[in-house]
C-alpha cells in the first residue's frame, strides 16, 4: 500500500531505515523518514538516525516492501 504524504514541496513517500552497529549483528529497522525523492530520503535518514556510529545503513521505499503477513494475521 502506498501512502502519499503531503509536503510543502508536493507529495512525499515513506522510506524504512535499516542499520547495524557491528558486522556481527543483522540489519534491523531503526526508523523511517518521509521524503519526496531518494536523495532527500538518504539525507534525512543520515541526519535523523545519527545516534550510533552505524557500520551500515540502508533505506527502502515502504511501498517496495512486500508484506506476507502482519502481526495478528494467520500465517
Amino acid at each position: 500500500m502506498t501512502t502519499n504524504y503531503k509536503r510543502v514541496t508536493g507529495d512525499a513517500v515513506e522510506y524504512e531505515v535499516f542499520a547495524r552497529k557491528t558486522r556481527a549483528e543483522p540489519l534491523h529497522q531503526v526508523g523511517s523518514v518521509v521524503a519526496p525523492d531518494d536523495d532527500l530520503a538518504m539525507a534525512y535518514a543520515r541526519a535523523t538516525y545519527d545516534e550510533e556510529r552505524w557500520c551500515e545503513m540502508a533505506i527502502v521505499r515502504k511501498d517496495h516492501v512486500i508484506e506476507l503477513w502482519q502481526p495478528g494475521e494467520i500465517a
Binding site: 510543502v8 508536493g10 518521509v34
Partner: protein
C-alpha cells in the same frame, strides 16, 4: 478491528499493539493525545534551547547546544510521524496550529536567558523528559512508539550529561557564576516538579495507565525525578527545596514548600509564602507563558514564507 474484549485481553496480557486496525477508537484517541504532548514538548524545546544556546561561552559549547537541538527535532519527528501514520496531518500539526493549542509543559514558556539556564534545563527538564519517556519506553503498549524511543533514550542521556557536567563546573567555579546557577535552580526546580502534573490524590482515573500508554503515575514519576535531581544538586553544592525522608523503610522525597504555590513568570520568582490551588495552576498553564507565541512563530513564520515563495515559482 477485533472486539473490545479481545482488545482488553491484548492490553492485559502485555502484548504490543502494532497497527491501527487493532485499536479501539478510545485507545487511538488516547494514544494520539499522548503522542501530541510528546511531539510538542520535543519540538518546542528546540526554539527554547536555541534562544539560550546563542549565549554559549565558546564555539564548542555552542556546537553541543546545536547538537542537542538537532536531537530534539528528530525526537519530535518520531512522534509526529507516528501521528501521521495514525491519520493526522504533520504539517498542519506543526505549522498551522494556534500557539496556545500546543501541549508542552508550561516550563518551556518561561525564557531561558543564559547558558547557565540552558544547562540547568538540560539537567532538570531533560531529566523530566528522561523519566517520562523512559517509563513509556519501558511500558508502552504501542509497538512503533516503544521501538522509536530507543534512539530518544540514548540521546536524552547525552543531554542530561551535558547539563550535569556544566552545572558541576559552574558550581565549582564559585563566586558570581555559582550565584547565577543557584538563582536558575531556584526558579527552574519548582517548574520541573510541576511538570509531572496533578498529584495522584486529585487524579481519579488514568486512561493512559489503563491502556499501558505509560506505566507510572504522576507522583511516582515525580518521586523518580526528585530521587535523581536532589542528591545531584546536593553533591555539587547547590541548594534545592526538597529533602529525603524514610517512611515505612522506603525513601520518600518531600518538598520544603507548599505545592503548588504562586509563580511570577516575568520575575521568574516563586512565592513559597503564597500557596496556590491546582485550579490556579491550570489557569496559568492554559493561558501559556511569556515565550509561547514567539517560539511557535519561530518555526511557523518561515514555513508560510517558504510556501508563498514556492507557489510564486509555480512548482
Amino acid at each position: 478491528m477485533g472486539t473490545q474484549a479481545e482488545f482488553d485481553q491484548m492490553i492485559k496480557s502485555g502484548e504490543l499493539i502494532e497497527s491501527r486496525n487493532e485499536m479501539t477508537p478510545e485507545y487511538l484517541r488516547e494514544l494520539k493525545h499522548t503522542l501530541i504532548v510528546s511531539g510538542d514538548t520535543e519540538l518546542i524545546s528546540a526554539p527554547a534551547y536555541y534562544l539560550a544556546a546563542k549565549r554559549a561561552p565558546s564555539i564548542n559549547a555552542f556546537m553541543t547546544g546545536i547538537a542537542i537541538i538537532q536531537d530534539e527535532l528528530a525526537h519530535a519527528h518520531i512522534a509526529y510521524h507516528i501521528l501521521e501514520d495514525l491519520g493526522e496531518d504533520q504539517e498542519k500539526l506543526i505549522f498551522s496550529r494556534d500557539p496556545k493549542s500546543f501541549r508542552y509543559p508550561y516550563a518551556f514558556d518561561v525564557p531561558l536567558d543564559s547558558w547557565t539556564e540552558l544547562v540547568v534545563a538540560n539537567g532538570m527538564y531533560d531529566q523530566a523528559g528522561f523519566c517520562l519517556l523512559g517509563d513509556i519506553h519501558d511500558k508502552c503498549s504501542y509497538g512503533p512508539w516503544k521501538r522509536g524511543l530507543n534512539k530518544v533514550m540514548a540521546e536524552e542521556n547525552f543531554h542530561l550529561r551535558n547539563g550535569r557536567t556544566w552545572m558541576k563546573r559552574i558550581s565549582a567555579a564559585g563566586g558570581s557564576a555559582k550565584d547565577e546557577l543557584q538563582r536558575a535552580v531556584d526558579w527552574m526546580f519548582p517548574l520541573s516538579v510541576e511538570w509531572f502534573g496533578l498529584p495522584d490524590s486529585m487524579k481519579m482515573h488514568s486512561t493512559q495507565l489503563e491502556y499501558r500508554l505509560k506505566g507510572l503515575t504522576n507522583d511516582q514519576l515525580r518521586q523518580w525525578w526528585l530521587s535523581t535531581v536532589v542528591p545531584y544538586c546536593e553533591q555539587i553544592g547547590i541548594k534545592v527545596p526538597a529533602h529525603k525522608e524514610v517512611r515505612d523503610g522506603k525513601d520518600v522525597w518531600d518538598l520544603d514548600y507548599p505545592f503548588p504555590c504562586d509563580f511570577d513568570p516575568e520575575a521568574k520568582r516563586w512565592d513559597f509564602k503564597k500557596p496556590a490551588t491546582w485550579d490556579d495552576v491550570l489557569v496559568r498553564w492554559r493561558a501559556r507563558g511569556p515565550r509561547n507565541v514567539e517560539m511557535v512563530a519561530m518555526f511557523q513564520e518561515e514555513f508560510h514564507k517558504f510556501r508563498k515563495t514556492h507557489q510564486k515559482n509555480g512548482s
